[in-house]
């Protein structure tokens, strides 16, 4: 996994592109996300808040940052801790 890699959820439709990565396992819907995307897993009720296309997700420490490019029912996590939405103050269009 490296910046630019596309990860797929095994438990739902979620796809994300890696913006920043570090140590640890990225998961979605409770199961590890993979680059191939051939694995399947059941959606865990603890990680079923959903992902939103175009939003960036980060962990508390800022180790990983993922851009959701396809939404799904699962929520993404790093080593079992749910990622949070990276909120940015909207800027006026400048170009």
């Amino acid at each position: 996994m490296k910046p630019g890699s596309r990860l797929k959820s095994a438990a739902c439709d979620t796809e994300a592109v890696v913006i920043r990565c570090g140590e640890g396992t990225v998961q979605c819907g409770g199961a590890p996300m993979t680059e191939g995307g051939s694995e399947t897993a059941d959606l865990s009720g603890d990680f079923a808040a959903g992902s939103i296309v175009g939003k960036r997700y980060v962990d508390e420490a800022g180790t990983v940052e993922l851009l959701c490019v396809k939404p799904g029912k699962g929520s993404m996590a790093l080593d079992g801790v749910a990622l949070v939405l990276k909120e940015a103050k909207p800027l006026p269009a400048s170009d």
Partner: protein
Amino acid sequence: MNLALFLEMAAGAAPDRVALVCDGKRWTYSELDAAAHGACALIRASGASHVALLDESSEAAVIALFGAALAGVPYCPLNYRLPDADLSALLSRITPALVVGDVSRLERLSADAGHTVYPRSEFTLAALEAVAGSEVPDAGEGIAIQLFTSGTTAAPKAAILRHANLVSYILGTVDFASADEADAALVSVPPYHIAGIAALVSSIYAQRRIVLLPSFAPEDWLKLVDAEKVSNAFVVPTMLSRIIQAMDKGVRADVSSLRAIAYGGGKMPLELIHHALDLFAECGFTNAYGLTETSSTVALLGPEEHRRAHAASDPAQRARLASVGKPLPTIELEIRDEDGRVLPVGQAGEIYVRGDQVSGEYRERSALDADGWFPTRDAGYLDADGYLFLAGRADDVIVRGGENISPGEIEDVLLDHPAITDVAAVAVASHEWGEAVGIAVVVRGGCEQPAEAELRELVRARLRSSRVPEKIIFAPSLPYNEMGKLLRREIKALLAG
């Protein structure tokens, strides 16, 4: 991350939504994305090291930009307004290229250079018909864009922007799919300018319909706003001035759909922006400051700040309209002196910026310092509230006997003279001081040419004796490039002659 992912995301989220309108033809996100993948196949098959555009804006610019990104080859839009000799020199720096656009001119300039050439319509057709490979390469740190700088002070430099720079700029400033389906952005800056490229990528990521105006004329701009119900536009100050002149002359157009006008690329005259704020009373204005080397905007003055300064009676509040605003949250900005020391609030020096969107790189070398700071060569200062004010190019500073003189301070004083409509101050050679101040003055139509002694006295009284021009010439007009940038190099030559 590869820049082309943004077009794929837009096509995935809203395949049938109109992405771009040019010359009456409408393109959806999925059509553009398919054409970009086809273009990638053409580029790979050609073996080109660069993809060049020698053409006005059209859908081909978008297809070439994203096709080149997919193929991992730099996209290099060229200034078709350059004279043959200059263009020929640039072409020889990007051989072999796949060139889209003016085929006959290209054959005249470099017939046997090994370029692959396509007229615009053939390129678009071939891209739509080409069988696209499905796998998108990871561009990593690869070069997305190579832009030759306008060369107002020296020979053009080949500035490069990596995928990582542009991706970071877009992610930091635009929310994906944040535009309403009715929104439309009118793009009238040329395709070889960073603002023209940033406008395409930002609009596609926001899913704001792009309305292209290939060749700017104020009447056409107004007509397109009306016809396409344009909500957003980016202009350079000279465009805004000409649009307002056309409206004053009675060109009729319904511009009530316009909600946001962003401007940049040159100094905005205060009188003009006040007038524009009155005329487009419902519009939000944004002043964007940025450079090619910083992937476009690094600081901006937003709509509320414009309205507040416009309505204020306090001179200090009103003065803020002359500011380019505050740095983006993702940008660090410092003002430094010639020895690299950070200057306090209110003191002018060179503007340094740092951030992931800042490339600061040229083909030949990187201009970044060891800590990743980019010296912009723009002079400026920050006020107590963190607003940035520009004070010309650092290279334009006149050094008279060790004293640094900013041309802007002299020009501002002279522009207060009722008979002067335009003026530029540049360095002239001086035996006594090394450099001294020279000015080129344009007299307002219908006014008598002021005496040289009168102009010298005006500067002496308002500034000080070191600022007094040693040499004065009068000219019918000053030389500007098509983006409204003053060509100081040419004025220096005039004064030296």
